[in-house]
Amino acid sequence: MENSTVHQPVPSIMVVDDTPANLRLLTGMLKERGYKVRPVSSGKFALQTAKHDPPDLILLDIIMPEMNGYEVCECLKADEQLSGIPVIFISALNETMDKVKAFKVGGVDYVTKPFQFEEVQARVATHLELRRQKRLVQESNEQLRKLEELRDNLVHMVVHDMRTPLTAIYGFLRTLETLKGESLSDQGREFVQTALASTEDLVEMVSSLLDVSKMEAEEMKLNLTQCELLTISREALAKVEPLKGDRELMLSGTDEPVTVMADAELIARVFQNLLGNALKFTPDAGQVTVSIESSADAARVLVQDTGPGIPPEYRERIFEKFGQVENPANKQRYSTGIGLTFCKLAVEAHDGQVGVNSEEGRGSTFWFTLPRRESVP
């Protein structure tokens, strides 16, 4: 069997104190416990040597000539490369305010002199372990970020290559539909209609994925014009009408035109995504209502449904790409896909906001805002 033991490097501890006797004492004790110790007698040199080779932890005296411990700690925390090093103050100052100040400048702990070495050792061990765990989490996050990047690149590549054949399929199906499928049976024509609808869904998915990639890379150019949101919402409602089944689709609220400076095509797709989503989760005989509110600063669009609602823990995750959530009604897990991510990025590209209010068992209201501005920013 393979030996899985991983040898950790010996932790390096810098001890900063202007009294050599104190340095010798702490250094000797810490070395006995197996640490690599770097004793330093001045704050200024502590910063210099920390930059040269950052230690895993610093034990820092406060009262020192030239540069006191608080100042040293402030400099460490201001330096991106050194800010993560835990600093334990070790000082004869024992007033509460001294300790509060030590934490304020970035210290993680405080030991008063004269100290019991066991206490110092316990605190050192604790903060080294915390630091180790923090590093592990950071490394995991970095690995996840790289995997996510790899996934996105792969998805982008596949989707990009899918677009051309998909467009051809869509084109031929359209031609068949236009020709009314004269040589086809009734069932054949029905098949063409179904294939066309599914291909349209795929084209929409491909476009959304490519647009999400562009928006994430901030490469999406908005075609900003004066758009009227009531008109866009009516068009979107008409587009999803065939999907409504027994559900009721409504437009409520203001009848006054609501004009914003926006990319009409993107906003139309946001409407369609939110409406499609609402219909998908609203049971038969339920209702989906669109309303638009207007103020001097912004327009606010609400898409309300009478679906099962979204548990609080999923209300942010649903806007993430391919976020996995569980439907409370049937306990089934499913991917949220890309639609809501597209909505979030598209709205945020307009400096707007997007979100959801939901009540489990009663329904959800997805909303987004678009700032009202007179001209192209």
Binding site: P20, T27, R38, S41, K44, F45, T49, H52
Partner: protein, 79 residues
């Protein structure tokens, strides 16, 4: 705290220039790392060249005064 400033004068750049450049380089690296154990090992090597210089360099190390040590080594390197 024992001042080591007085000892600096005795370590003339000429004496330090007699030390191998590689040894000085290792001492500087050890000083930059605040590594007294390594510095003491290296001062033992200095002793092969000049016993008095080694003794004076050790005083800096015992006082953890790496900056003065670096300053001295720097002056030796310049000659």
């Amino acid at each position: 705290l024992t001042s080591t400033a007085g000892a600096t004068g005795a370590l003339t750049p000429k004496i330090l220039a007699a030390l191998p450049a590689e040894l000085i380089c290792r001492m500087r690296e050890a000083a930059m790392n605040a590594d007294p154990d390594q510095l003491l090992t290296l001062t033992d090597e200095v002793e092969h060249y000049d016993i008095h210089s080694a003794r004076r360099l050790r005083r800096f190390v015992h006082a953890f005064d790496y900056q003065s040590l670096l300053d001295v080594l720097q002056s030796g390197a310049r000659t």
